[in-house]
């Protein structure tokens, strides 16, 4: 529970979250305005083939003389869009399924739990690969669907468990006694208390979405004609960048993925602390004093 300070001021004071947020914010800015600011077109061929990073090409060039830096910048937009979009979609599905199963119980819960368990048991990446391989069309939408289908179950399970325990709380019974409809109880009374978990789930799912998407594209199962971090990997792999020693080709997108993932993970640490006051880092004040604890 917040202790009289706004979430904002608390977030600002927390180092981990600030760090994570700044990384993510940085990438968002790059995605939004990056493509407008680059000098070279990412698809333009040039004579500088497989050049290491230099003044002309900050991250070197590909086998066809394309500027890696430009590609990474343009790819950011696609990857982020897909990552956040698919993550959001998967979270929405998990919220609806998890809360419904947790609150209604009985047959509804049994059926939905079965569904959740089935999807949890099926290995995500192999399923994603198979779906991507067999879908007749490629592109961001099928990718988003695949990620959603394989990524919703975990969050749903967590939310179901949380909702089961919330249901027994007195304020939920009080809402029933006040005549609230069940839908309102689930989404207006219970859900706000689970926001921290949903947020953490969202961030986790976004990480998964980005990784899954990059992985699938690396395997060539995405739309290889668009430019995204994953497709950069694909082309780098296809053209044997590793063997040729063109480390800049795949290191750049790799670092981006890793950095974004780290940033999101740090945000999650912060959300954990927001939800669970016991994990909160206590600032040291001048006198031997830290966060307030309720006296006996």
């Amino acid at each position: 529970m917040r202790e009289g300070r706004t979430v904002g001021s608390w977030l600002a004071a927390n180092g981990k979250v600030t760090f994570g947020l700044s990384i993510v914010f940085f990438f968002i800015v790059v995605a939004l305005v990056g493509p407008l600011l680059i000098r070279q077109s990412p698809t333009a061929f040039s004579a500088d083939v497989l050049q290491p990073p230099s003044a002309a090409h900050w991250l070197g060039t590909t086998q066809t003389g394309q500027d890696v830096f430009a590609q990474v910048i343009v790819g950011t937009r696609v990857s982020l869009l897909l990552g956040f979009g698919a993550g959001l979609l998967a979270t929405i599905v998990s919220v609806i399924v998890g809360l419904t199963a947790g609150y209604f119980g009985g047959l509804v819960d049994d059926v939905l739990s079965l569904l959740i368990n089935v999807f949890l048991v099926i290995p995500a990446i192999p399923l994603a690969i198979i779906m991507a391989a067999y879908l007749p069309f490629r592109g961001p939408l099928p990718m988003a669907i695949i990620v959603t289908i394989t990524g919703w179950a975990w969050g749903a399970r967590v939310l179901r468990a949380q909702t089961l325990s919330m249901r027994k709380r007195d304020f939920v019974e009080a809402a029933r006694a006040s005549g609230e409809s069940r839908l309102r109880i689930v989404f207006v009374e219970i859900l706000p208390n689970e926001i921290a978990i949903v947020a953490a789930g969202l961030v986790g799912t976004v990480i998964y979405a980005i990784l899954a998407q990059v992985g699938l594209e690396f395997l060539g199962l995405g739309d290889v004609t668009t430019i995204s971090w994953g497709t950069i990997f694909y082309w780098a792999q296809n053209n044997e960048a590793l063997l040729l020693g063109a480390w800049w080709w795949f290191l750049a997108p790799g670092c981006c993925v890793a950095l974004l993932g780290a940033g999101l993970a740090f945000i999650n640490f912060g959300i954990d602390e927001l939800a669970n006051p016991r994990l909160r880092e206590e600032r040291k004040l001048k006198q031997p004093a830290q966060a307030k604890k309720e006296a006996a």
């Binding site: 007195d170 304020f171 009080a174 006694a177 006040s178 005549g179 609230e180």
Partner: protein, 386 residues
């Protein structure tokens, strides 16, 4: 529907529970035999009248909280009927029960968990106003919220409206819970141990508030508690429950000063009563307080504890601990016996045994005598103090 009863009589029964029973099935799968269940409430009958407070006294495991939730229809009874103003409540679904719920509201024990930590006071009070159609516009809502807060002595109201539960003290939260219940304009208020989790010095304030509301609104109050003294202070009628069964009831003064059921007597002598410490309390004669010692139970939970409700003792559930138990006590539950002046008891000591009106092993007058002796001792010690 108006909540103010303008008739002169306050004896009108508003809510009646008849032979309520509640079993909570356990999820264990049993291949043979009946499914196990927690038999929380076994045959409870009570009547609530407007302008009248009834106390339901019992310890943990007595089923008193379950009774409150049954009356609020948060649980559906396994069997038995609930009648509101003579009409049997048959509804089962949430929607259908809304009509019932506007008349019967509940205040919970724990002020820290009965308010949603993510919502303001305003939200908590506006929801019932909107749902039950008492406010249709924002300004009406505000007006009604302000008046509700004033009725529960939370002034200035504007200060409290935007607050979150964690910004309020326990007593304030409980007042909000009461205001929320009042927002529906009920005729019946079920208070489930409303002050047990509050600081001692503010309990009386809340109880006095409830009494005032009872008088102003002619509410029918059900006051659930484990504390006989506060039942005496607050309610005109006291009912005693043990392990899901009702054992004694009647006017509060009568039940407490002339307790007839051995369990009620046990409760009375176990309650802390500083007035008697001088002569017969724990310290005085260095001996245990003179309550009727319960028999040691060899198996099961051990002495002095409420029995398991999954496999409760047969007949009268108090018989394993009762010093006056007779063979008939474990065969059947004693029928209700009227003792006059509205005082009734379920105990074979007062007759009602199957074959004959069997003479109890201890003379009934002995019990009364003992009760009287106990009383006069405590009176003596009090007088000597003053």
């Amino acid at each position: 529907m108006s909540t103010k009863i303008t008739t002169s009589t306050t004896e009108e029964p508003i809510l009646e529970a008849v032979h309520l029973k509640k079993d909570f099935p356990l999820r264990k799968v049993k291949l043979f035999g009946a499914a196990e269940a927690v038999h929380a409430v076994e045959d409870v009958t009570l009547v609530l009248r407007s302008g009248h407070a009834t106390a339901l006294v019992g310890e943990s495991g007595s089923g008193k909280t379950t009774v409150a939730r049954l009356l609020a229809r948060l649980y559906a009874p396994t069997s038995g009927t609930i009648r509101y103003r003579e009409e049997v409540i048959k509804a089962r679904g949430e929607r259908a029960l809304q009509g019932y719920r506007r008349h019967v509201q509940i205040v919970f024990q724990d002020p820290f968990s009965s308010l949603n930590p993510m919502h303001t006071v305003r939200h908590h009070l506006s929801r019932p106003l909107r749902i039950y159609g008492h406010a249709h516009t924002a300004s009406e809502e505000m007006q009604l919220i302000t008046s509700l807060l004033e009725r529960v002595n939370l002034t200035p109201a504007e200060q409290f409206i935007p607050k979150f539960p964690h910004q309020l003290s326990g007593g304030q939260r409980q007042r909000i819970a009461i205001a929320r219940a009042l927002a529906a304009r009920p005729s019946v208020l079920l208070a489930d141990e409303p002050v047990s989790m509050l600081d001692v010095s503010i309990r009386l304030d809340i109880l006095n508030l409830l009494t005032r509301l009872k008088e102003e609104e002619q509410l029918a109050l059900l006051y659930i508690t484990h504390d006989l003294a506060s039942a005496r202070y607050f309610a005109e009628e006291t009912l005693v429950m043990y392990a899901g069964q009702m054992v004694e009831g009647g006017p509060s003064e009568e039940v407490i000063q002339q307790a007839k059921h051995p369990y009620t007597q046990l409760l009375l002598s176990s309650a802390p009563d500083p007035d008697r410490f001088g002569s017969s309390g724990l310290q005085g004669n260095h001996k245990v307080a003179p309550w009727i010692p319960a028999k040691q139970v060899v198996s099961g939970n051990g002495s002095g504890d409420v029995p398991s409700l999954i496999k409760p003792p047969g007949g009268c559930r108090f018989h394993p601990r009762c010093p006056y138990a007779m063979p008939v006590c474990q065969q059947q539950f004693p029928p209700r016996r009227e003792l006059g002046r509205g005082h009734w008891v379920h105990c074979f000591l007062y007759g009602g045994a199957h074959k004959t009106d069997a003479k109890p092993s201890t003379d009934v007058t002995d019990l009364q005598g003992q009760g009287g002796l106990e009383q006069s001792r405590s009176l003596n010690s009090r007088e000597s103090i003053q």
